[in-house]
Symmetry: C2
Subunit: 128 residues, 2 copies
DNA sequence: TTGGCTGTTATATAAATTGTAGCACACCCA
DNA sequence: TGGGTGTGCTACAATTTATATAACAGCCAA
């Protein structure tokens, strides 16, 4: 999968990395059971430190997207705790929609954006 | 308005503060032209440092939610740069929906959540 | 068995962020 | 004039971020 890191971004490197991997899972570019590159290999490919990649993997594990095996490395393994996920979504969506509403983005525009993003998922063939 | 700060949260104090004020605007508890408490007063009420409140206000100004007057203090004044706002929304929504999708939250569930949040806005009487 | 790969852990360093603290300034208004 | 306003500055401690080495145990193929 294509990983693109913006060194000028104010977003932490390990967060850019983990977020891109999550989006890779959502678009089915990564599937259950697939192995991610080793921390050293990916660090070398991107040109960042091993520990930064390791931190990204640790975050992915803590949030239930991968399981880490000592010999196989990080393997995609979704732990579906839907209640927790919905709670998280509600909180983050609350702030996001508040900002949007203040900027005169309508409910309909938000719905349209959701559909747009979801159609993009299905373009890759996918989870539903 | 009611401001509630969680000192045990991993979210920075100034971000909790600015986010709550943004949500206050979205729910019409703050309206265009309303003055926020002075940095010293709000700091005293919450029990945090003056500079932390000042940073929250600075963020709000940079993101176009308030204007700061030397004698009136921070006043709600929305600067609507819709193109920028939509761009921001797209990016953040992309990550948020990717996470949700991985956790088997359907498109319909997301739409329902959006409606639920928006209905809560209208409960306060509001911007549309 | 050895060599090389895996994740993991530890220590160290530098830079940036976060929050607190105190002080001073210019401004405005009662 | 006195007291309130935002703002600017310096300073400090704690935490986070990213890098850099180094070492360890586990595994597997040559």
């Amino acid at each position: 999968m294509y990983i693109e890191i913006d060194f000028n971004s104010d977003e932490a490197l390990y967060l850019q990395l983990s977020n891109q991997i999550i989006m890779g899972i959502a678009t089915s570019q990564y599937q259950e059971g697939d192995a991610l590159p080793s921390v050293r290999q990916l660090a070398d490919t991107i040109g960042i430190n091993m520990h930064t990649v390791n931190k990204a993997y640790t975050v992915l594990r803590q949030e239930g997207f991968v399981k880490v095996d000592r010999r196989k490395g990080a393997v995609i393994a979704i732990d579906i705790d839907k209640i927790k996920a919905v709670e998280e979504l509600k909180k983050e969506m609350g702030v996001l929609l508040a900002k949007s509403r203040c900027k005169n983005i309508s409910r309909e525009e938000v719905h349209a954006l959701i559909d747009e993003i979801y159609e993009n998922y299905e373009e890759y063939g996918g989870r539903e």
